[in-house]
């Protein structure tokens, strides 16, 4: 019940009650959009947006740029780790006993 799942808003079905269809992992469900609609984000503009769905409510929008930034950062961290691993002598490498300097 506490696990939130990302989904994409497909259609607004009830502007007054702020309801819309959200596709979550291939399944379409009517979801309450009240938490993501305000003066700056009119309900008509939210089709296509990705949201985090909890117990039938879209609790926040997912920011695609921030998601990309996090992924970029993860990649950088990975690259850095590869660098470090290549200069750091580790037990596994010396125990291979090939005598090679890597």
């Amino acid at each position: 019940m506490c696990l939130g799942i990302p989904g994409q808003i497909i259609q607004v079905t009830d502007t007054a009650r702020k309801l819309g269809i959200v596709e979550i992992g291939g399944v379409r469900r009517t979801i309450n959009l009240a938490c993501i609609v305000d003066q700056d984000h009119a309900i008509g503009t939210c089709v296509g947006a990705w949201v985090l769905v909890h117990v039938g409510f879209a609790m926040n929008r997912i920011d695609p740029q921030e998601a990309q930034r996090t992924l970029d950062l993860l990649r950088e961290m990975g690259d850095l780790q590869k660098e470090i691993a290549s200069i750091e002598p580790t037990d596994t490498k010396t125990s291979e006993g090939t005598g090679e300097i890597r």
Partner: protein
Amino acid sequence: MRYVDEFRDPVTGQQLLQQITHQVRVLGRDAQHPLKIMEVCGGHTHTLFKFGIESMLPEGIEMVHGPGCPVCVLPVGCVDDAIAIATQPNVIFTTYGDTLRVPGSQKSLLQCKAEGADIRTVYSPSDALALARQSPDRDVVFFGIGFETTAPSAALTLLQAHEEGLSNFFLFSTHITIIPTLQALLDDPLLQIDGFIGPGHVTMVIGLEPYLALCETHHKPIVISGFEPLDLLQSLVMLLEQFQTGRCTVENQYKRVVQNSGNRIAQQALEKVFLPRECFEWRGLGSIPNSGLQIRPEYAHLDAEKRFLLPSRSVPDPKACQCGEVLKGAIKPWQCKVFGTACTPETPIGACMVSSEGACAAYYNYGRLATTRTLPQER
């Protein structure tokens, strides 16, 4: 699935694990002197086990599984109250499926249902509201449980019922809040925690600001984290960086979902509908001031506590149960006397064994399998 699969890449996961191992070594931590890091949220506990991360972390880190699974901390007295409501004539009692097997003092909601009570599992409070519209001659009660993640949906549903003038929808609120809980944990001398992985979805609602004072007074760094394996690993890297540089702040790893100010609409709904209770009793943790949410007097006509006569008794946890110590991280689940013998997911004694997000259920379902250190892959 988008926003899920990208954050499960095993190769990057392995690199992050190497980095964590490196950082822990630099910090001079080992099995004898591990850094104790609490993941507050049951969703994080679930991820740690489901992807076998717990078993791949270096020995210098000990993950302490915190009290952030609302099902696990639901006290016996609340279950008894729920049963008292559900067994009234003419009531349809609706609840998330997770609460059904939580033991009360006599029985669980599931047993109560087997005995004939009209108890229905719903996915959303909106489903309960729809039932109330369809059945005007029945009283439909929704069992509101959870932290600030689920509380806004309950609040918005109640407001909707109010607007529609429904007189047969009631909310039974056992909702709880995170900050008083963390406060109580940090004040507990038993608890020895070096830092926190903060709950991403609660913070998506309340924002980062409420954590600042806690972080400052108790000098514990907090990183708010997403729920995929790479999210958790990155959060650990960020936390370890804080230790390495001697910083102590609240950081946000989960920026794609969590804004610093949280979600104002959800906050306003909470404000409008709920008031803090003076005290709320938790399973295992005892009474925590200001940690519960009750419905404001303006909405008393939709409040199940006002509509029905409830025992509201404080019932001690079962004697054999060591859930409190587990929730505070004082013992590991398998160290509980009844773990896996008298207490299993089929026959739970404590609530930590009920929810899939509970530490005991996680160990029971995944922990004992995690003997090899392999790539993070969904089991």
